[in-house]
C-alpha cells in the first residue's frame, strides 16, 4: 500500500496501462508537457514521449473524433476533456458517434476508449466550469459511466476502463484531486459496474457519488455519534452499468434510503435509483426515497452561494435525521 493523492492515482493508472499495452495512447489539452491543468497527468509525457502522450490544440471535437477514429482499428485512446462542462462543445462525437458505433456496425467496430474529465463544483469556478454532468452521459445508451471517490478507486477503475472494450466516460471530481488515500501497490484493477458499501449500517442507507461520498460518510458518523442512528453509505461509483444488486441488498436492510447528488435536481442519477427501488423493492419500503441534491440552478461563482447550493454535511445530516424522525 502506498498513500497517493487522487490526482497521482490518475497518472498511475494511465502509466500502468500504457506500460502494459502499447495500443494505449493519451491525448488532450496541456496534458503532456504541462502535466495537466489539475496536475493529474504529471510524468506521463517524460515517461512515454510525445508520440503516445499528445498535447492537442484547443479543439474538443477533433480530440474526441480523433480518439474515436483511432479506436476503430484497435488503438485504446485515453482522451481528456479538461472540464466536463466542455462536453457540450463536442457532444455529437460522444452521443451520436462513439455511443452508437458498436450498435450501428453490428458489433464489427468496438470503441475501446476512455474519456477522462474533471467534473463538479466547490472550487468557485462559476457556471461554465463547475457543473456535475454525469447525468448527461448516463442518459445516452452505449456509454459506460464511472465516477470514483477515492484514490484507490481512481486507479482501479481507470485501469479497468482502459481495458474495457466499450467507451467509458470517466468523471474525476476536481474538488477531490488533492485528497489522499491508500492505494494498493503494483497492478490494481477494479470491476466496472460495482458499487461499494463504504460504511455499513441498518437504520437507513445513503447512496452517494464522487465528492458527495466523503460528505455522506461524515454525516453518517455524526448521526451515529449524536443520535445513535446507524446509517450505511454506498458509493455508487458506476452509474452505467449500475450495480442494482448491491443497491437493493443495502436498501432491504432498512427500507429507508437517501441519495446525495451534486447534480442539479432534475433527472439526476438519484431519480433513477429512487425509481428502481420503488419498482423492485416496494414491499420493503418504509419511507419514500429522499433525494438531497443541488437545486435546479446553474452554479454561482461566489463562495457563500456555491456552498449554499451544493449538498453539505449539515444538510445531509439534517435531512436524514428529520427524515427518520
Amino acid at each position: 500500500m502506498a498513500e497517493l493523492t487522487y490526482r497521482e492515482a490518475v497518472a498511475e493508472a494511465i502509466a500502468q496501462e500504457m506500460e502494459r499495452d502499447e495500443n494505449v495512447v493519451f491525448l488532450g489539452e496541456d496534458i503532456g508537457k504541462a502535466g495537466g491543468v489539475f496536475k493529474a497527468t504529471v510524468g506521463l509525457f517524460d515517461k512515454f514521449g510525445p508520440e503516445r502522450v499528445r498535447d492537442t490544440p484547443i479543439a474538443e471535437q477533433a480530440i474526441l473524433g480523433a480518439a474515436m477514429g483511432a479506436a476503430m482499428t484497435g488503438l485504446r485512446p485515453v482522451a481528456e476533456i479538461m472540464f466536463s462542462d466542455f462536453f457540450a462543445v463536442c457532444w455529437d462525437i460522444v452521443a451520436n458517434q462513439i455511443a452508437k458505433t458498436r450498435y450501428m456496425t453490428d458489433g464489427q467496430v468496438t470503441m475501446p476508449l476512455v474519456i477522462r474529465t474533471a467534473n463538479g463544483g466547490g472550487v468557485r469556478f462559476g457556471a461554465q466550469h463547475s457543473q456535475a454532468v454525469e447525468n448527461w452521459a448516463m442518459m445516452i445508451p452505449g456509454l459506460k459511466v464511472i465516477a470514483p471517490s477515492s484514490p484507490a478507486d481512481v486507479k482501479g477503475l481507470l485501469a479497468a476502463s482502459i481495458r474495457d472494450e466499450d467507451p467509458v466516460i470517466f468523471f474525476e471530481q476536481k474538488s477531490l484531486y488533492a485528497e489522499k488515500g491508500e492505494v494498493p501497490d503494483g497492478e490494481h484493477i477494479e470491476e466496472l459496474g460495482t458499487a461499494k458499501v463504504v460504511r455499513p449500517g441498518d437504520d437507513a442507507v445513503i447512496y452517494a457519488l464522487a465528492a458527495m461520498v466523503p460528505r455522506a460518510v461524515k454525516a453518517a458518523e455524526r448521526l451515529q455519534a449524536e443520535d445513535g442512528i446507524n446509517v450505511s453509505v454506498v458509493d455508487v461509483r458506476s452509474l452505467v452499468p449500475l450495480d442494482t444488486q448491491t443497491i437493493f441488498d443495502e436498501f432491504r436492510k432498512s427500507g429507508r434510503a437517501f441519495t446525495v447528488e451534486e447534480n442539479p435536481r432534475l433527472c439526476g442519477w438519484g431519480a433513477e435509483i429512487s425509481s428502481l427501488i420503488t419498482e423492485e423493492c416496494f414491499w420493503d419500503m418504509d419511507l419514500p426515497v429522499t433525494r438531497i441534491t443541488t437545486p435546479h440552478i446553474p452554479l454561482p461563482a461566489s463562495d457563500n452561494l456555491e456552498d449554499a447550493a451544493l449538498p453539505s454535511v449539515d444538510r445531509i445530516y439534517n435531512t436524514v435525521r428529520e427524515g427518520l424522525d
Partner: protein, 338 residues
C-alpha cells in the same frame, strides 16, 4: 531616397501619429487597467478573490487602441474570460467589476458570474465567456443584429491564439463573410494558450490569415503599440461599417502574468517575459512618447498615477466592504420569474 532631416540631431524621434491629448488618454486608460489588474492579483493573493482570475497585464494596448477607434455609442464588444481590461475600457465601473471578482452582491452579476462572466447591456459589453471561442459565433450574432437593426454598429469580437484553433471560429468566419456582417475579429495573439505556445498548437502560425479561405482580409498589428492598434482599428472599422464585410486584426501581444493565478509558467523562460517587459511595454512606450515630445510633464503623469491609484483603491475597498449575495439569489435570474 534622400530626405531632408527635419528632426534636430540627438533630439526628438519621429512625431507620434497621435495628438498629445490622445496619448495622454491612452496612457491613463492603459494604466488604469494595469493598476486594476495588479490590485486584483493582490486581492487574489489575500484570498478575497477565489476561483479563476485571468489578468490582462501586458495586453492593455489592444483594447485601449480598439476602443479609441470605436464608436462607443453604437459598437458592441464580446470577449473571453480574460475580460477585466475590456470592461474597464468599455466604461464599466471599476467598483462593480472588482466587487464581482470578490463575489459580492454589488458586482455586475451580483457575485454569481465571477471573474469570467460579467456583462453590461448599457455599455454594449456582452461578456465574459468561459468556453474558449464561444464568443466568436456570439459576436457574429451581435453583428447580425447590428445589421438587421441598421443601427450602424460594429461588433468587436476578441479571441485568443488558442481559441483560433476551434472549429466554431471557422464556421463563424464563413457565415460572417457570406452575409457581410459588421464584425471585426480581434485576435489577441499573446503567444500562448494556457501552457501551449502557438508553435505547438497551430499548423500555420500566421493566425491573422485564417480568414483567407473565406475572403476575409486579415492584418497583423503590433499589439504592444497602442497607436498602431488605434490606426489599424480605424481602418478596419471604417471598412466593416461601410458594409464590406468582416475583417481580422491579428494583434501581436503578450501576457506578463500566468494564464490564471495558479500557473507555474514552465512553458516559457523568465528572460522571455522580462525582455518583452523591458522592450515593448505598451505603457512605457506611451510614457516615453509623452515625455520625449513634451506632451506631458513628470508631475502631470504623477498626478494621473495618483488619481488612478485612488480609483483602484476605492474599488478594492468597495469590493471588500460590499455584502455577500443573499442566499435567495441562488434562485433568481434562472428563468424569468412571473
Amino acid at each position: 531616397m534622400a530626405t531632408t532631416a527635419k528632426t534636430k540631431p540627438g533630439k526628438r524621434a519621429a512625431k507620434p501619429k497621435a495628438t498629445a491629448e490622445e496619448l495622454n488618454h491612452f496612457y491613463r486608460e492603459m494604466l488604469m487597467i494595469r493598476r486594476f489588474e495588479e490590485k486584483a492579483g493582490q486581492l487574489y493573493g489575500m484570498g478575497l478573490i477565489q476561483g479563476f482570475c485571468h489578468l490582462y497585464i501586458g495586453q492593455e494596448a489592444v483594447i485601449v487602441g480598439m476602443q479609441a477607434a470605436a464608436d462607443t455609442e453604437k459598437d458592441s464588444v464580446v470577449t473571453s474570460y480574460r475580460d477585466h481590461g475590456h470592461m474597464l475600457a468599455c466604461g464599466m465601473d471599476p467598483k462593480g467589476v472588482m466587487a464581482e471578482l470578490t463575489g459580492r452582491a454589488s458586482g455586475y452579476s451580483r457575485g454569481k458570474g465571477g471573474s469570467m462572466h460579467m456583462f453590461s447591456r448599457e455599455k454594449r459589453f456582452f461578456g465574459g465567456h468561459g468556453i474558449v471561442a464561444a464568443q466568436v459565433p456570439i459576436g457574429t450574432g451581435l453583428a447580425f443584429a447590428h445589421r438587421y437593426k441598421e443601427d450602424g454598429g460594429v461588433c468587436m469580437t476578441y479571441y485568443g491564439d488558442g481559441a483560433a484553433n476551434q472549429g466554431q471560429v471557422f464556421e463563424s468566419f464563413n457565415m460572417a463573410a457570406l452575409w457581410k456582417l459588421p464584425v471585426v475579429y480581434v485576435l489577441e495573439n499573446n503567444r500562448y494558450g494556457m501552457g501551449t505556445s502557438v508553435a505547438r498548437a497551430a499548423a500555420n502560425q500566421e493566425l491573422y490569415k485564417r480568414g483567407t479561405a473565406f475572403g476575409i482580409p486579415g492584418e497583423e498589428v503590433d499589439g504592444m503599440d497602442v497607436v498602431a492598434v488605434r490606426d489599424a482599428a480605424k481602418k478596419a472599422l471604417d471598412s466593416v461599417r461601410s458594409g464590406k464585410g468582416p475583417q481580422i486584426l491579428g494583434m501581436l501581444t503578450y501576457r506578463y502574468r500566468g494564464h490564471s493565478m495558479s500557473d507555474p509558467a514552465k512553458y516559457r523562460t523568465r528572460e522571455e517575459v522580462s525582455k518583452v517587459r523591458a522592450e515593448q511595454d505598451p505603457i512605457d512606450r506611451v510614457r516615453n512618447m509623452l515625455m520625449e515630445h513634451d506632451y506631458a510633464t513628470e508631475d502631470q503623469l504623477k498626478k494621473v498615477d495618483a488619481e488612478i491609484k485612488a480609483i483602484v483603491t476605492e474599488a478594492a475597498e468597495f469590493a471588500q466592504q460590499s455584502p455577500e449575495p443573499d442566499p435567495s439569489e441562488l434562485y433568481t435570474d434562472i428563468l424569468i420569474e412571473t
